[in-house]
Symmetry: C2
Subunit: 299 residues, 2 copies
């Protein structure tokens, strides 16, 4: 077995645990108005790469923890990522009709139900984190992890990136602002994945710092690759419309630097991610592979 | 000083602590796109009765705790209440232009910013709860309280009530369904206030049970009074449009039972709230007064 096969097998193991657990965690509707619960499940079960929860479980593992201890927090993070996509796709936001190859939540269930389904997923994320078995056993680590999750998902994290995005519409913005936007909009949840994995494992500061540097570089590479795919891919491969950045007049790495330079920037950030994990030695092979595969992804 | 004056003084003391602390807790915007943070502050500082946070601090106190220990959780609960109003007022939801006597968040800041401001307040609520000093000192009580907060604000709580509301639009619904809707939509956060106050104080089960019965009756009385005021009050007194229930063809206590029977039902629930606190003796005078004053409120 090549190292890559080993890594992919582990990815699939995590993926299977995450998808099974997500399905168990989503609330069953006990009243006669199931649309919101149906919409939550529809959007959660809509595929998605599950990169953030996988990152969290593996971050917990390489810091000496049991990845199962991070499973519910990992699912919570994926709920937050999914709610952000539901709200992002709303007519008053990016107004996208397709997501992960199927109609966006507001197309399938209507706008009001999509707003509530997003709200409910965000809320359920914190319920999942606070009510899990690990939180009962290690409440000190759990409150630290919940505070991190909320900080990085909120106005000083992911939502901050969306706020910059919103206030930049139709303008050419400087590269520095684009980087700040990406660091918040995409990077914050990557950082949450790695930092929370470390906190749940009771990691040393140096381990957590290294993982946060990895997450930061990975997030930048990931967002630049997204910008590139929006220009070079097709909607069938991506599962969502292409060309929407240009159509919405959004500044991206490609519009600011050109395709060639954008590719170089993505490769440089990927290399930075790979090199930031030195202190973990061979144990970090999976995370290094993951960074490289995400840099070469086609969807 | 009459007992009522004493009670009102305590209410004002709580109110002042809550408003000061809320202002400190709202995030300062560190990037050049302040609209979302401005909108959060605009809606939080828009007045409001602050009943839920006051209930929480007093519930903590009568269970033997220090109400200051509940202050940050109380602010978190008020953030959740406020986010729910912002999203409720959106064009795709109730489409209300006025709230607490001033333009609704989406009127003042636009729809997209209002969606994000609501999301950010909900997220900040959990940050506030998990990052507070009390959570560091008593992480076991804090995770229990956070789990309760999320459960009662989510699809099995407040959002469930909104889901029923949404799927009942334009229909006459039976009284039983109206009660279930009110119990979730309004009662769930009242219950959160009382139950979390008890949990933070390390209350005995009987104390928490009594407070939950009080919250349940109070929530029903509160919602029926809301229905009544929507018919009998004017928009200047209420700070929001009146007659909107009838206009939106919503079933209410008034439309189902008539004004007279609705008033009787509100009074019966208020009496039930008052009588549920027997085990606290004189210590519960403030909560009994509060129930009576809310039953007699004019806005």
């Amino acid at each position: 077995m090549t190292p890559q096969t080993t890594a992919m097998t582990r990815f699939d193991t995590y993926l299977s645990r995450i998808n099974t657990r997500l399905s168990e965690l989503l609330p069953a509707c006990f009243y006669d108005a199931p649309a919101v619960c149906d919409a939550m499940r529809y959007s959660m079960e809509g595929g998605g790469k599950r990169i953030r929860p996988v990152l969290m479980m593996e971050s917990c593992r390489i810091c000496g923890g049991d990845p199962e201890d991070a499973l519910d927090f990992a699912c919570a993070l994926e709920m937050i990522h999914t709610y952000s996509l539901i709200h992002d796709d709303l007519p008053c936001m990016d107004d996208d009709d397709m997501r992960r190859g199927k109609p966006a939540c507001h197309i399938a269930f209507g706008e009001a139900t999509a707003v509530l389904a997003g709200d409910a997923l965000l809320t359920e994320a914190f319920h999942t984190a606070a009510a899990c078995a690990f939180a009962k056993q290690h409440p000190d680590r759990a409150v630290e992890a919940i505070a991190l999750l909320a900080e990085l998902a909120g106005a000083c994290g992911m939502i901050g990136g969306q706020a910059i995005d919103l206030q930049s519409e139709g303008q050419a913005i400087p590269l520095e602002r684009l980087q700040q936007m990406d660091r918040l909009k995409t990077g914050a949840l990557m950082k949450a994945a790695c930092a929370i994995g470390a906190v749940l494992a009771g990691a040393a500061k140096a381990q957590r710092d290294a993982l946060e540097r990895y997450a930061d570089a990975l997030g930048q590479a990931f967002q630049i690759t997204d910008d590139i795919l929006d220009v070079t891919s097709d909607s069938e491969t991506l599962g969502k419309p292409v060309g929407s950045d240009a159509q919405q007049n959004k500044s991206t790495y490609v519009s600011l630097l050109g395709l060639e330079q954008a590719r170089k920037a993505a490769a440089a950030y990927t290399a930075q991610a790979v090199s930031s994990l030195g202190l973990f030695g061979e144990e970090a092979a999976f995370l290094r592979n993951l960074a490289e595969q995400l840099g070469n992804r086609i969807s």
